[in-house]
């Protein structure tokens, strides 16, 4: 491992400049729970780590009922879990934030980092896709926004260009009669990477009898976390029943391209997609009921 240097800028512009200047040889550091491991494994070599945690904008969490939730890329999973508005309005996000590693990992890991790490199994990414999140990016050319659903392009690869960093994640405001959930399958009780995962978001009619809008997202069954668009589409207009959820699950299975690896087989993953999509949809629907009552 090349002994890299370290800088801790206090502004977004300074961070962007440092990264743009040493393109390919510098990377941002948030929680460090992925990048330090990868550096030690020799996955890549760096001259510089740019610590983002001293940039105030990247550490803030703001919630507004009209605008939604905005949290900085360096906000930790634990901090999200401790935030009252997140707990109340975005339990589907916390489904993911509370299962990324154990306690100590969650005290450092960030959803921003989870996103930029772009693992196919990213729990945070899939949950955010289901919630319709977008990433706020800053770079030498200024700022732009990209839906999280389009952010990852291949395992470990993202849309970020030279000098660009994710500054914040934005989630739309919670709608009445809407609920979200994320579930995954791991062999142990904790500490594992998902064998497969599914996030779901449902918006029901006022009387709860019909599905107005839906999103289904999948983890660990394709080169990137995936918005299973057809699975969501098939739910719109249907009643939120087990039959409808099973149909969506079957459609979702078709969208997957799972592989065999040390964590699971393709056959197992394909099967699990069906199970987990149904379970996440049921959990999302139950959350709608909870909110309403």
């Amino acid at each position: 491992m090349n002994p890299f240097g370290y800088e801790a800028p206090t502004s977004v512009d300074a961070a962007v400049a440092l990264l743009a200047d040493r393109e390919g040889r510098a990377r941002p550091l948030a929680g460090g729970t992925d990048i330090l491991v990868q550096l030690r494994q020799g996955r890549f070599d760096l001259d510089l780590l740019v610590d983002l945690k001293r940039i105030p904008e990247l550490c803030r969490v703001t919630y507004d009922a009209g605008v939604g939730l905005t949290f900085g890329a360096a906000v930790t999973c634990a901090e999200l879990t401790e935030h009252a508005a997140v707990r109340e309005h975005y339990p589907g996000l916390l489904d993911a934030a509370t299962i990324i590693g154990g306690t100590a990992i969650q005290q450092r890991a960030t959803l921003g980092g989870n996103l930029c790490n772009a693992a196919p199994s990213g729990d945070g990414i899939s949950a955010m896709i289901a919630l319709g999140a977008e990433a706020v990016i800053a770079g030498p050319a200024g700022r732009r926004r990209v839906p999280v659903a389009s952010f990852c392009t291949a395992p470990g690869r993202t849309v970020l260009g030279r000098g660009e960093i994710v500054v914040a994640l934005r989630l739309p405001p919670p709608l009445p009669h809407a609920g979200a959930a994320y579930v995954r399958m791991i062999p142990r009780g904790e500490m594992d990477i998902a064998v497969a995962g599914a996030g779901a978001w449902l918006r029901l009619t006022d009387d709860g009898a019909g599905i107005v809008d839906a999103r289904v997202a999948l983890a660990a069954v394709a080169p990137t976390p995936l918005l299973a668009a057809e699975a969501g589409a098939v739910l719109i207009g249907a009643a939120p029943t087990d039959e409808a959820f099973a149909r969506a699950a079957a459609v979702a299975r078709e969208a997957t391209r799972p592989i065999d690896d040390t964590r699971g087989t393709a056959a197992q993953r394909r099967h699990l997609v069906g199970v987990l999509v149904e379970r996440s949809l049921r959990k999302a629907a139950a959350r709608v009921k909870e909110r309403v009552s």
């Binding site: 491992m1 399958m185 062999p187 142990r188 904790e190 699971g264 197992q268 394909r270 099967h271 199970v275």
Partner: protein, 750 residues
């Protein structure tokens, strides 16, 4: 808190049998305890090992000059730095193998095989130096599957290897290092007499002992060629033997200081990096410390073998076993020597079987050489036998414990390999399990099931040394040669204290290094509390005899007239307490040191039965353990608190083996999960509370009736869980680990 069942007639004991806290606990909870990884010596360099990326290859060239030239590098060693070997003698082949295992010579035989090592000022320089070592290989085809390795045409690992068996030595190159066949009675007739026969093939994967502390060694030479090694080991004398043999040094030139051990479980009986560390330190003329990474721990040490086991058992409709046969095919790894023999010895041990045969194969493959892991070889074999026993019971419609009781061994029963059971607690354990609240409580709910499994392990005696020196204040300094990997310095001190009539806090136990105390075999085989206890008892009696003689001198009587009762020396009206006499020792001829050097030939075996309740998620295949109970005969629990810990810890490892753990090795011999993310040690969420029931069937050959306890608890979990899964969802899994995918496959869902 455990339950205990103790027979009525027992000795009156005041220290032995109490729930004493371990004497090293305070050091460990404050972080003061020093492990081999914590050693700091002035001028210490960092050592790193270059390991083979290939599972099977010839080394065509090895050039270390660029590495040596790197500033900050003090030494680079290869096989050329080992002392020259006399090619002539009969043991030369074995010695060459021992050398090759430390640093490869002409071939590498597994991914991770050490090739060279460097000592440098910093880890960064050491890593850079490794990259500058120029090695060229001729890559050879590798074989990593044990059945493939037995086939004609398989790549041969050792040109000179011939199959050894009782029939003689084979004459063709092979990967089958040895084979054996044990026969009792007339198996063909036995099976013919059976009403029901169950025959299964089961497979298990390589697993690692999973000790959290990696191997670490620090070597320091002085100007006179004397070497000190700070080691993490189960046997400081074993390290000394190993290093002196490889470096051709007199024993007196090497002192091994055993540090606190951060987990061992059999995986630190062997020395993996002490020799290389010593070589580096000698060449660098500086102390050198080598610490293995977690990756190296997986690929560069001695895991437990993967296996293919076929078991066939027959029984009458009434539930009497008529015959049993087994074929054990064990991975030895890159060099011969799997524990297939000890597996054969114990696998049918709990059952009185009139006719049987066991066939075993020790097969080399391009993987790390296997080593001991808590009841070496036995867990896969127990899985196989108990799976068939449970299936037989189910097929016959018999209660699983009643079936086992009906066929249980009793004192005098003979195993298939001709050993005779003596003073065993098999029946007591099974009966205690039958009446345990866990067994009696009904299990309700969908997808839930209960399973039991039963196991036998022989344990061990062997050599231990203890000295006891009396301090003027009446306390006693105990030095033991046995490394403490489980709490034995405490249980040894308790036994000495009991004999001396002292409270435990008046006996201070330390583990001595190889210059300070006699000789001990490795702390393994569940032997230490038993054998080192023998040594402590002998040393304590020696102290008492010497102090009686001193009292006799002081009182000017004959030593035979001095009695020692209730920690007091008496002669007629005169008496001195232990502490009082201790205070007189310095002025009456110096203190007294008692010695106990033993080689224990007589020890008791162990039986254990486990009960587990599980819930299976039939859609994901995930198995959750709801309740777990360990019932085991412990002879006499010297320290019940510690014994419970051994039962719980062993069971937890068996649970890991059953459900979560296994090497995932590709066809090129590379491990795909050499880290603690994907090699899945159980977490707090994976192990339920574990209840323990200590059944005390004292072993007459031990002063307090103790038996070894540590190993048998790892054996039953896989079969108990497999049966519970079957009872829960109707699917039988015959392969370990019983991952969610395997359960789904058994259910026909994928």
């Amino acid at each position: 808190m455990s339950d205990k069942r103790t027979p009525a007639a027992t000795q009156e004991l005041s220290v032995v049998g109490t729930r004493a806290v371990r004497t090293d606990a305070a050091e460990k909870v404050t972080g003061r305890a020093r492990f081999a990884t914590d050693v700091q010596v002035p001028g210490m360099l960092v050592g790193r090992v270059l390991r083979s990326p290939h599972a099977h290859a010839r080394i065509l060239s090895l050039d270390t000059r660029r590495a040596e030239a790197l500033p900050g590098v003090f030494a680079v060693v290869t096989t050329a730095d080992l002392p020259p070997l006399d090619a002539g003698d009969a043991a030369a082949l074995e010695r060459q193998q021992a050398r090759d295992r430390v640093l490869a010579s002409d071939k590498v035989l597994y991914v991770g095989h050490p090739i060279a090592a460097v000592a440098a000022r910093t880890p960064t320089i050491a890593e850079a130096a490794l990259a500058l070592i120029d090695v060229t290989f001729e890559v050879l085809p590798a074989v990593v599957d044990v059945l493939e390795s037995m086939q004609p045409g398989a790549p041969i690992l050792h040109d000179h290897l011939r199959t050894r068996s009782l029939a003689g030595t084979g004459d063709a190159p092979t990967n089958v290092a040895s084979t054996f066949r044990q026969v009792k009675g007339d198996p063909e007739a036995g099976f013919a007499a059976a009403d029901v026969i169950v025959e299964r093939e089961l497979r298990t994967r390589t697993v690692h002992q999973g000790y959290l502390e990696p191997h670490a060694s620090t070597a320091v030479w002085d100007d006179h060629g004397h070497l000190t090694i700070y080691a993490t080991t189960q046997g400081s004398f074993a390290v000394r033997d190993h290093v002196t043999a490889l470096l051709d040094l007199p024993m007196s030139q090497v002192r091994v200081i055993p540090m606190e051990v951060g987990g061992a479980f059999g995986g630190k009986n062997s020395s993996f990096i002490d020799t290389v560390t010593a070589l580096l330190a000698r060449k660098a003329r500086r102390p050198v410390k080598v610490v293995m990474s977690r990756y190296e721990t997986f690929v560069g040490t001695g895991p437990s073998p993967g296996t293919v086991i076929r078991v066939k058992m027959g029984a009458t409709r009434e539930g009497m076993i008529t015959a049993a046969s087994a074929t054990l095919i064990y991975e030895a790894g890159a060099y011969p020597g799997s524990p297939v023999g000890s597996a054969a010895h114990v696998m049918f041990g709990p059952y009185d079987i009139p006719h049987g045969t066991i066939e075993g194969y020790d097969v080399v493959v391009n993987r790390p050489k296997v080593d001991s892991y808590r009841a070496p070889g036995a867990t896969p074999a127990c899985f196989a036998v108990e799976a068939v026993i449970n299936e037989l019971a189910d097929t016959l419609g018999l209660d699983p414990l009643a079936f086992r009781l009906r066929n249980s061994v009793r004192d005098g029963a003979e195993t298939i390999d001709g050993s005779v059971h003596r003073h065993i607690g098999a029946i007591e354990v099974l009966e205690a399990t039958q009446s345990h609240p866990h067994m009696i409580t009904p299990l309700d709910g969908p997808n839930r099931g209960r399973g039991v499994a039963h196991a036998f392990w022989g344990n061990w005696g062997a050599r231990s040394s203890v000295t006891l020196t009396v301090n003027p204040d009446g306390t006693v300094a105990l030095v033991t040669a046995s490394v403490d990997i489980t709490g034995t310095r405490t249980s040894t001190a308790m036994q000495a204290a009991e004999v001396l009539g002292l409270p435990l806090d008046r006996v201070r136990a330390t583990v001595g290094d190889t210059d300070a105390i006699g000789y001990a075999d490795v702390s393994a085989g569940s032997r230490t509390t038993v054998a080192t206890g023998h040594a402590a008892v002998r040393a304590a009696h020696d102290v008492i005899d010497q102090m009686r003689a001193r009292a006799a001198e002081i009182w000017e009587v004959d030593a035979a007239e001095v009695a020692f009762v209730n920690a007091t020396f008496r002669c007629g009206e005169r008496s001195l307490s232990f502490a009082e006499l201790a205070g007189l020792l310095p002025e009456t001829g110096n203190t007294v040191t008692g010695v106990g050097n033993v080689d224990v030939q007589d020890w008791g075996a162990s039986f254990g039965t486990h009960i587990v309740d599980v819930e299976v998620d039939p859609e994901t295949g995930k198995v959750t353990l709801l309740r777990y109970t360990v019932v085991q005969d412990v002879g006499r629990a010297i320290n019940p608190l510690q014994v419970e810990g051994q039962l719980q810890g062993g069971a937890a490892q068996g649970i890991g083996w059953a459900l979560f753990e296994g090497y995932d090795v590709d066809a090129q011999g590379r491990m795909r999960n050499p880290n603690l993310l994907d090699y899945k040690l159980p977490t707090t969420l994976d192990i339920p509370p574990i209840a323990t029931l200590l059944v005390e069937v004292p072993y007459p050959g031990h002063p307090f009736g103790a038996r070894g306890v540590g190993e048998v608890p790892i054996m039953p979990p896989p079969a108990a869980i497999a049966e519970a899964i079957y009872q829960a969802v109707g699917a039988r899994v015959y392969e370990l680990p019983m991952t969610p995918a395997r359960v789904l496959e058994a259910l026909g869902r994928i």
